[in-house]
């Protein structure tokens, strides 16, 4: 819990440098805009994609360096301390850095893949800068420590996303999807903002640690010069208003993570958007939604205090309902799809359900949070590679002009064995077979449910994993077993897309031996919250 402003230990660097991964993304976005303003009609894809890839890799490298270097670990435990910035609005701890790593990796993969995908389109500079701006928002969201900054960061993610979904302006599907995404997004933002206002009304503060203090003490708080103190006259927190507020905040994060019932935008947006953007939204944007959820519910709404007060909202129950509903609706709908991209879109909803276990697998007295949270985090990291990779393969298929349906993939394995092998790794890893890190992260989630005896969650996880193997295998079967219908569809092997797909596959496989390290970092990050 970050309640004290820890002194910055990073040698002689000023405090804001802890935000370097975020700033790297922001600066890259601005550089892209600068290039665009110098040469508004540039179609030099190499330059634009190059800047974007380099910018996101720099962000990734910085985040990894900080994680390994011990930023966010208290000095007492051999770390560098946790930088707290802007009066506690932002905090760069291990949790934030962990998600900055996810965002950086996914952004690098997506921008690399886009090199081939958007080559023929105009407004490329805008495309790349929008991607980078959204990534900036996601990175920033990982570090927010207040409901106000969270809302701002969330909108910074959302607004470029709407535009990116609509990037294929001449494609009706793309534009329609963007509009639906925007409308649902607007409703959800309204719900979220209203929830924030209710929490503020009930507790008097917006900073997560201050909200927690208010809930634990039962007295409205205020922040004076960065320190939290009780309001004069000690007015009591109204638990019912707080409860409505918390439920609406859940709505806000459910929208971003595409969890039921705020998921309606997801299948259409993912299907209509350019495939790299689908991968970006379903991996990085979902991860950003989850980091907000993890931080808010782990730090601002302490579950043990809420359970102790009978009238308050027990958000674990809410997340259990959402997790089970999301798993079932996502996977069952995925099982009956006819197009591969839409199947992946629904499966992405299903995976949101799995990750929600991170907040749902708690004992009745609210214990086991660090374990389940770290399981969710680890799954998101693995998911960042395998799901992005799968969508990038779809981008490759779209690039070749292969159709959208399962049958259209028939025999693709013979024409593009490398890419199809990578896709097989992604799909089996998504299903939870031990070919990629997906097996271990799912097993970790399963252990988290077992840890607290949450049988219903465990059963839902197992049933849906089994079902998911069915629909993922359909793609694998089409690629390798079915006969192709004759014509040669693969004429070229786009460098950028191929590199991105293969890199994602390598990362997915490497996460098998590397999972131990990832899970230990995630567990440490969750313990330090």
């Amino acid at each position: 819990m970050v309640t004290q402003v820890a002194p910055l230990q990073m040698a002689a660097l000023p405090g804001w440098t802890a935000l370097a991964p975020v700033l790297a993304l922001a600066v890259t976005a601005l550089v892209l805009l600068l290039v665009d303003s110098i040469d508004p009609d540039t179609t030099d894809t190499s330059l634009l994609a190059g800047i974007s890839v380099v910018g996101s890799l720099v962000s990734l490298a910085l985040a990894v360096w900080f994680v390994v270097g011990g930023t966010g670990i208290p000095t007492g435990q051999g770390g560098q301390g946790t930088p707290v910035l802007f009066n506690g609005q932002l905090v760069v701890d291990q949790l934030a850095l962990f998600f900055m790593v996810i965002v950086g990796s996914v952004t690098a993969l997506v921008t690399l893949a886009s090199y081939d995908y958007v080559r023929e389109h105009s407004y490329q500079a805008e495309y790349y800068s929008l991607v980078l701006l959204a990534a900036t928002g996601m990175s920033l969201l990982s570090a927010t420590n207040s409901l106000a900054s969270a809302f701002v960061a969330l909108e910074l993610v959302s607004l470029p996303s709407y535009a990116l979904v609509a990037f294929l302006k001449k494609n009706k599907g793309s534009v329609e999807a963007a509009l639906k995404y925007f409308l649902i997004g607007a409703v959800s933002s309204a719900v979220f903002a209203y929830g924030i206002s209710l929490v503020y009304a009930a507790t008097g503060v917006l900073r997560f640690d201050a909200v927690a203090t208010a809930i634990e003490s039962g007295v409205l708080q205020t922040v004076v010069d960065g320190s939290v103190q009780a309001q004069a006259g000690e007015p009591a927190v109204t638990m019912s208003i707080l409860g409505v507020g918390i439920l609406m905040v859940i709505g806000g994060v459910a929208f971003k993570t595409a969890a039921v019932p705020f998921h309606f935008w997801a299948p259409e947006a993912y299907e209509g958007a350019p495939a790299p953007i689908s991968g970006f939204l379903s991996s990085a944007s979902k991860a950003a939604g989850f980091v907000l959820a993890f931080r808010v519910f782990a730090t601002a709404f302490p579950i043990q205090a809420l359970i102790a007060d009978g009238g308050a909202l027990n958000w674990v129950v809410a997340f259990q309902i959402l997790a089970i509903a999301t798993m079932f609706i996502g996977n069952f709908a995925a099982a009956t799809q006819e197009t591969v991209k839409r199947m992946l879109a629904y499966s992405s909803v299903g995976h949101a359900g799995y990750v929600l276990i991170g907040l749902a697998a708690l004992s009745s007295s609210g214990e086991g949070l660090a374990f389940s949270l770290s399981a969710g985090m680890a799954h998101l990291l693995v998911y960042g590679f395998m799901n992005t990779g799968a969508f990038l393969f779809i981008a490759l298929a779209e690039y070749w002009g292969v159709g959208r349906r399962f049958e259209d993939y028939n025999g693709l394995g013979r024409e593009a064995p490398l890419a199809c092998a990578a896709m097989t790794i992604f799909l089996f890893s998504l299903a939870g077979l031990p070919i990629g890190g997906g097996f271990f992260s799912k097993f970790y989630l399963f252990s988290a449910t077992m840890n607290v005896g949450a049988w219903s969650l465990a059963a839902a996880l197992v049933i849906n994993s089994a079902l998911s193997l069915f629909y993922y295998s359909r793609v694998v079967k089409a690629m390798w077993i079915e006969e192709p219908d004759g014509e040669d569809r693969v004429e070229s092997y786009p460098t950028g897309l191929y590199t991105a797909v293969v890199a994602a596959a390598v990362a997915t496989v490497l996460l098998v031996p590397g999972f131990d390290y990832v899970s230990s970092v995630a567990f440490r990050a969750a313990t330090l919250l």
Partner: protein
């Protein structure tokens, strides 16, 4: 002890020859035979060295390889136990295998058989498996090599897999022995679960026991009541002796399968479909011997259970008689030998069951020699007869193939138990042990022993009869076919092994001439001394596998005691005289019936008994009925259950999943205002539910 350092090579050499024959056999002269001969010869030399070292008082019991390390549980290891029993068995197995390899040059190579590398690879692996089984120092390792032996027998019996008979016989051998092995496997698990170890003998270091063996633990539990450490007893709710009897009988299931005891003997006559040298190996030294050896190996475990002993004795005695009657009417030379094998292993079981540990090991030894001899002799005859095995087509071979004849005669005299050939001494001792223990013990045990003894004694007569019927039909009289008039010649590689074994069959009984020893007072019962060890200290104190200790256990725990109504020498001589008289009578009857230039069939005089014998008491029929009439319908019902209920549920689940998937899909109508409605509705529902629970309104 340098010999023990090289002991693993006894097992590994034949294994290497297996690999060599398998992968390089095509490119080698004689199709890998020379590699096999070299390997088994090397193993034989090493076994002799080991035996000499053991004779000098050395024993060895160590783990050599850990393949599953248990953390706070059982550790699974390979180890070697070299004591007088295993040293003797090593000698037998390597000697027979060596001779069989040489004989195979004549039987397989000279006959231009194809697939020789496969044949020699099989022989190599067979030998290696049996040797691994013999030296195993724990039950699990023994089980694994036991199974390997079974696999090799399958491969070799089915060697001529393009014909109809051999593959079917191989499958039968595999399945029937496997049926017994199921019980063995359960027994292994039971023993390890009960005692936490499968060791046959304790491992000591500097006089301290570092790893106790399960027979000794069982003995402590039964004799001293040390049951505290055995958690399994509480689980099964039986007393120690009852539970150990159950375990012993489970292991006995494997023994009955492998050693072809009633009712699992049916595979063995069919196994004659394999090449004859393989039959010699199976019957004399490997496979069938494995079962009996296993009982001897863990004899300390059986010696504390009178029930298990009685079962073993009865099964053995019954099998001895039962198989001998079937041997009376067979027309093919190898069939007669097959039933004689079953019968002779019955004697060994009878000896083990009735407390004659030394007698059993003795008979195992002599039988290995004379049965290998008889099979190789039969193989020689079969070569000469161009692979016609029917005795009624033979006759008069005595003059054409004298070496084979005299060697075969030596083996037959041994088999029939005629003085002074090997079989007499050992069979006499078996029957003597059964008799005196039947007379001396009390209660049901005594009755079982007397019944078993009576059956064994009666079988002596039949043995003498069928043996000499075989000899006369094959070698005497006038040749009855053209082939018999002009037999195919055999070379040194056939005659050599026959000569060696022929001499041994006549003489190997001298290692334990108990009646002579008793009469003269000379210490010439060498096998007795070999298995009993020094009276104080030495290897018996370390390994607890000596016959003296077994005798004490039998007497004190199981209540097996000797009764000698005619005094010690009188009883001994009476028993010997009775069995010798019966053997001579059987042989004499065969002589009168089948001697002469043109013997005729007399089996018809048996009337309906002949039909019964020829059909082997309908054992195959009822076992086939068990499979097709009982198991198959049961399996069908299970299959219906699987197809209908289990698969039905699975299919139902998938239909329901797809159906509900379709429904869920329809929620996604594509109309954005519906989405907003559903979204808001969902939120309101959650709000209402939690509001009511939390009492917010």
């Amino acid at each position: 002890m340098a010999a023990f350092t090289y002991a693993p090579a006894i097992v590994l050499l034949p294994f290497v020859s297996f690999l060599v024959a398998l992968f390089l056999g095509d490119r080698m002269p004689k199709g890998g035979a020379l590699a096999g001969i070299a390997a088994t010869g090397g193993s034989l030399a090493l076994s002799i060295w080991v035996a000499l070292t053991v004779a000098g008082g050395g024993v060895y019991n160590e783990f050599v390889y850990t393949w599953v390390a248990g953390i706070e549980s059982v550790t699974l290891r390979f180890g070697l136990l070299l004591d007088p029993l295993s040293a003797l068995m090593l000698l037998i197995v390597t000697l027979i295998s060596f001779l069989v390899h040489i004989f195979s040059l004549g039987y397989m190579n000279d006959e231009d058989e194809t697939g020789l590398p496969r044949y020699y690879a099989g022989l190599g692996l067979f030998t290696a498996s049996m040797l691994g089984f013999v030296v195993a120092n724990n039950l699990l390792m023994a089980f694994m090599f036991f199974e390997l032996v079974g696999l090799c027998s399958y491969l070799l019996i089915g060697f001529w897999f393009r014909e109809d008979g051999p593959p079917s016989a191989a499958k039968k051998a595999f399945l029937v022995t496997r049926f017994g092995d199921y019980f063995f496997l359960i027994g292994v698990v039971g023993v390890v679960a009960t005692f936490g170890t499968g060791l046959f003998a304790p491992i000591t270091e500097g006089g301290e026991v570092v790893a106790q063996s399960f027979p000794v633990l069982a003995e402590h539990a039964v004799v001293d009541g040390e049951t505290a450490g055995i958690a399994m007893l509480d689980t099964v709710g039986l007393g120690p002796q009852a539970w150990f009897t159950v375990l012993g009988l489970l292991v006995l299931g494997g023994v009955i399968g492998k050693s072809a005891q009633f009712p699992l003997h049916t595979w063995l006559p069919d196994a004659m479909e394999g090449p004859t040298p393989v039959s010699a190996l199976i019957h004399a030294a490997t496979m069938v011997a494995a079962g009996v050896y296993l009982v001897a190996r863990m004899y300390g475990f059986y010696a504390i259970s009178p029930t298990a002993l009685a079962v073993i004795a009865l099964v053995g005695g019954f099998t001895a008689l039962f198989a001998a009657t079937m041997g009376l009417v067979k027309q093919e030379i190898k069939q007669v030998l097959a039933y004689s094998t079953i019968s002779q292993y019955g004697y060994m079981m009878l000896a083990l069951g009735s407390g004659g540990y030394i007698a059993a090991v003795f008979h195992l030894t002599t039988h290995a020699v004379f049965k290998a001899l008889l099979f190789l002799g039969a193989g020689s005859v079969i070569i000469a007869m161009h692979h016609n095995e029917n005795m009624w087509d033979m006759g008069g071979l005595k003059d054409k193939m004298p070496v084979t004849y005299y060697a075969f005669l030596s083996g037959s005299l041994a088999l029939a138990g005629i003085l002074p050939f090997a079989g007499f001494w050992s069979k006499d001792e078996v029957l003597y042990e059964a008799l005196i223990h039947g007379l001396g013990s009390e209660g049901g045990l005594a009755t079982s022993y007397i019944v078993a003894y009576a059956m064994g004694l009666l079988a002596v007569f039949f043995t003498g009869f069928y043996t000499f019927r075989m000899v006369f039909l094959t070698f005497h009289g006038e040749p009855r076919t053209d082939t018999a008039r002009d037999p195919h010649g055999v070379r040194w590689n056939v005659k050599g092994p026959l000569a060696v074994l022929g001499v041994l069959a006549a003489t190997v009984g001298f290692i334990n001439m108990k009646p002579v020893a008793e009469l003269t007072g000379a210490h010439i019962d060498f096998l007795h001394a070999w298995l009993e060890g020094p009276e104080e200290g030495g290897w018996p104190a370390a390994l607890v596998t000596d016959s003296h200790h077994y005798g004490e256990l039998l007497h004190d725990v199981a209540g097996v005691s000797a009764g000698e109504p005619l005094g010690s020498i009188g009883t001994l001589l009476a028993s010997a005289a009775v069995s010798l008289a019966l053997a001579v009578a059987g042989a004499g009857l065969a002589t009168t019936l089948y001697r002469g230039p043109d013997p005729v069939e007399h089996t018809d005089k048996l009337g309906s008994l002949k039909t019964l014998f020829m059909h082997n008491y309908y054992q195959d029929e009822y076992q086939v009925w068990l499979a097709t009439g009982l198991t198959y319908p049961l399996a069908r019902v299970m299959d219906k259950f699987d197809q209908g209920v289990v698969d039905g549920v699975v299919n139902g689940v998938s239909s329901v999943s797809l159906f509900s998937g379709q429904r869920i899909r329809r929620i996604q109508s594509g109309v954005v205002s519906n989405y907003a409605t559903l979204l808001t509705l969902g939120l309101v529902l959650l709000l209402a539910a939690f509001g009511i629970i939390g009492g917010w309104f």
